[in-house]
Symmetry: C2
Subunit: 170 residues, 2 copies
Amino acid sequence: MKLSEGVEWGLHCVSVLAGLPSGATLPTKTLAEYHGLSETYLSKHLQALTNARIIESVPGPRGGYRLLRLPEEITLLEIVEAIDGREPLFRCTEIRQRGPLACEASAQAYRLPCGIHVAMARAEKAWREALKTQTLADIVNQYTQDVDPQQQQRRNQWMSERLRSAPKKS
Amino acid sequence: MKLSEGVEWGLHCVSVLAGLPSGATLPTKTLAEYHGLSETYLSKHLQALTNARIIESVPGPRGGYRLLRLPEEITLLEIVEAIDGREPLFRCTEIRQRGPLACEASAQAYRLPCGIHVAMARAEKAWREALKTQTLADIVNQYTQDVDPQQQQRRNQWMSERLRSAPKKS
DNA sequence: GGATGAATACTCGGATATTTATTGTCCGAGTCATCCTGG
DNA sequence: CCAGGATGACTCGGACAATAAATATCCGAGTATTCATCC
C-alpha cells in the first residue's frame, strides 16, 4: 500500500502558493515546470484541492490558483484527504459475520463492534491526528528556517517573474 | 489509498490461531471456510505471515498453521507489515530537486531533509507506534470480553472438531 | 482620440486511454498417514 | 501378531492470469485580454 504520489505534488504546490503575496496566483504550467512534473496530471490534483476548498481557481488569461485560506488554517490532513480521498485506510468488511457459524449466531452477538476494526481504527486516528496538528504554516516556517537563504531568494525571484496579481477577491 | 484486504484476513486468522491449544494447528481450508474466504488467496497471505515468522506451517496430512510465538509477543504492526509490506505510506521522491532552479542550486542546499517528508513521516510514525503498542493478546482478550459466551463456545466446538494436535515442536 | 465590439490566446474542467498494483487462481513439491505384504 | 515398505492423499509453496486502481493524457468550455474598427 502506498499513498498517491499526487499527495506529494499537492503538498509541495500549496507550500509554494503559501509563499506568494496575498491574492496572487500561479497557473498549473508554472507549478508543474517548477517541480518538473506533468502539467496535465498535476492539473487533476489541483482540481481536487479546489473541490476541497483549499485553493481556488481564477479562470482565463492571467488566471491560476491561489490559497483560499490562511496557511495557519490549512492542516496537512485536509490536503492529504483532498487528494487521496476521505475513506479509511482499513475497511472492516465484517468477515466475522460470513462464516458457517455466523448464520446461526444470534443477532445481538454482533452488536458490539469488531475488535480488530476498533484496534485498526485507533491507529488510524493517531495518524490523522498527527496530520491534523500540523498546518501548512508549519511547513512554510520550517522551509524558511532550513533552506539556504540564497536558494530561497532564487525561488522568490523566479516566482515573482511568473505570478499574476489578483484583480479582485471572489 | 487503502490497505490490502488481506490485512483484515490475516488479523482474523491469527486471532483464531491464538485461541487454539498450545501446539495445535489449523489448515488453510478450515480458516478459509470459517471466515467465508477464498482458500487459495488466503493461502497467499498465510505464506506471507510464515515468511515473517509470525506463524509456522506444518506440512503434510494433519498439517496446518500455528502461532510461532505467544500472542503477547506479536504486535499488530508485525502482522500488518507482513502482509502489506514494510515500505512507508508516503514516499518522498525529492521533487524539490527536480525543477529548473534545482540544477543551479548548491549541493548543500539539500543536505537537510525535505520538510514535507519529515511532516509525513511524523504522522506515519504515530500510526506505526499505535499498531506496535497493541498486541494480538489484546485482540483476543477483547474478544473474550465482548463476544457472546454462547457464540464463543460454538466457535471452540467447531474448531476443536477440525484442529490437529501437533506431533512435536520444531 | 476614445469607446465599442469581435476575435484571440490562455486558463481551468471533466471525460478518456495506459500503466501499475492488487486480487484471485492454478499446478507442482514435499510429507505424513495409511494400507498391504511378508516374516 | 508385528515390522517394514510402498502407495496414496493431503498439505504448503511459488509461479501464473484477471480485475481494479492509480497514472497519464487529451480535448472542450469559459474568460479576460487585445486589437481593429467605428464614432
